[in-house]
């Protein structure tokens, strides 16, 4: 067996390794291009490096006719880091949890109400627009930060890649919509502004909230971390309650 495979294995391994490295390089280069474009546009909230990178990679995969499963296999080292990154959200969560002191009940009510509104209004509006079942399941967890929303989508039978794109779009929409919305609603309190942005639109709106003020940004970060957990608990429950048909 060894004699038979010896000349074959290193050759095959080499060609696969080259392709994997090239695909990994494509991922990193696409993200670097997205970052460069974002800083060139003065960090405008409509210019999102992740969305740009996904676009570049998607176009390259279609143009070079590379199967996306093959691509995900090659880019697995980057993808794998999502796990430790989500677990690491415990650090900012622990650091900022003290901020709720003195208004704990208010914050919990706001968090739950915001989270439920995001899940129910999104799925209900999507259902009204006749979106397909798998799209609805991919839509439900989108207010949680992308890493968590994708994990929830996997759990409930949605499509993680669709969830990733919808989550990022939710972030961009929240970051752009929040300020005019607060002006209409006459909400000036930076705590309220930040918390709302973090619950509905996770990290992308948190970055926007930090541009408004330190207080808004910090509360947005806290809200994002809390809603990642709450959405992970609520979405499977909501799906079980409202989608009575068996998964698949």
């Amino acid at each position: 067996m060894v004699g038979l495979w010896q000349p074959m294995v290193p050759l095959r391994w080499n060609s696969v390794a080259h392709e994997s490295t090239a695909l990994l390089l494509l991922t990193l280069a696409a993200y670097a291009a997205g970052m460069a474009l974002q800083s060139w546009c003065r960090r405008h909230s409509l210019v999102n490096p992740t969305l740009i990178a996904i676009g570049i990679v998607a176009v390259a995969l279609i143009a070079l006719r590379i199967d996306h499963v093959r691509y995900l296999e090659a880019a697995r080292p980057v993808h794998w880091l999502l796990g430790p990154a989500v677990v690491g959200l415990a650090v900012p969560l622990y650091r900022h949890i003290g901020l709720v002191r003195g208004r704990t009940v208010l914050m919990i009510v706001a968090l739950l109400a915001g989270s439920v509104t995001a899940i129910i209004s999104g799925t209900a509006a999507g259902w009204w627009f006749h979106l397909s079942r798998s799209t609805l399941l991919s839509l439900a967890p989108r207010s949680a930060t992308t890493a968590v929303s994708m994990a929830i989508a996997t759990e409930i039978g949605g499509i993680p890649a669709v969830t990733a794109v919808l989550t990022i779009l939710t972030g961009i929409i929240g970051a752009s919509l929040a300020s005019p919305l607060f002006n209409v609603l006459r909400i000036e309190d930076p705590v309220a502004r930040g918390f709302g942005m973090g619950v509905a639109s996770h990290g992308i709106a948190t970055a926007r909230a930090f541009q408004e003020s330190e207080t808004a940004g910090t509360f947005a970060g806290l809200a994002m971390a809390l809603n990642a957990v709450v959405t992970a608990i609520l979405v499977p429950l909501v799906v079980r309650l409202f989608v009575s048909c068996p998964p698949g």
Binding site: T27, L28, T50, L51, A53, A58, Y71, L72, A75, V78, H79, L82, G83, P84, V86, V87, G88, A90, V91, L93, Y94, R95, G98, R103, V105, L106, V109, A110, A113, G114, S115, T117, A125, F129, L131, T135, T146, A151, I159, P160, A161, V162, A164, V165, L166, I168, I173, G174, L177, I187, D189, A192, F195, G196, A200, S201, A223, A228, A232, L237
Partner: protein, 143 residues
């Protein structure tokens, strides 16, 4: 190799180990107890309770080890990169995004606006009455 090994390096290793162990235990708990919550989120909660215990024991200032803080911050600074491989999987669903795209954008605009409004109105509505009728405020203003 020994010349370039710095005293702090093992500490970074322990920080990475902590994150991966928490993730593993989270996955294990989610699987064995068949929790509906993703294992990584269980891992997040496990690590958060460990930090809380450390905070009780050592004081809040000492609760988060510097290396763990740095590793977590390093991952979060580049979080956007980590979604790219999974996100690029949309090529498999490109048709869906084209046909359902306009409706999805409308849904996202409506729903995200509603969620921000509901959350922020509740938080802005401070004072004694809120704890009691917070839910009522949602129904009145959010609908």
């Amino acid at each position: 190799m020994n010349q370039i090994t710095q005293p702090g390096e093992n500490v970074v290793l322990y920080a990475v180990l902590t994150l991966v162990v928490a993730q593993y235990l989270g996955d294990l708990m989610a699987d064995t107890l068949s929790l509906p919550v993703p294992g990584v989120v269980v891992g997040l909660l496990l690590l958060c309770s460990v930090l809380t215990f450390r905070g009780r024991w050592l004081g809040r200032e000492q609760a988060i080890p510097a290396a763990l803080n740095n590793v977590a911050k390093g991952l979060h600074d580049h979080l956007g990169l980590l979604f790219v491989p999974a996100g690029a999987g949309v090529v498999a669903d490109a048709d869906r995004l084209v046909t359902e795209g306009p409706a999805l954008i409308a849904v996202l605009l409506l729903s995200t606006g509603a969620a921000i409004a509901v959350t922020s109105l509740i938080v802005a509505h401070r004072g004694g009455a809120v704890a009691a009728d917070g839910t009522a405020a949602v129904e009145q203003r959010g609908a």
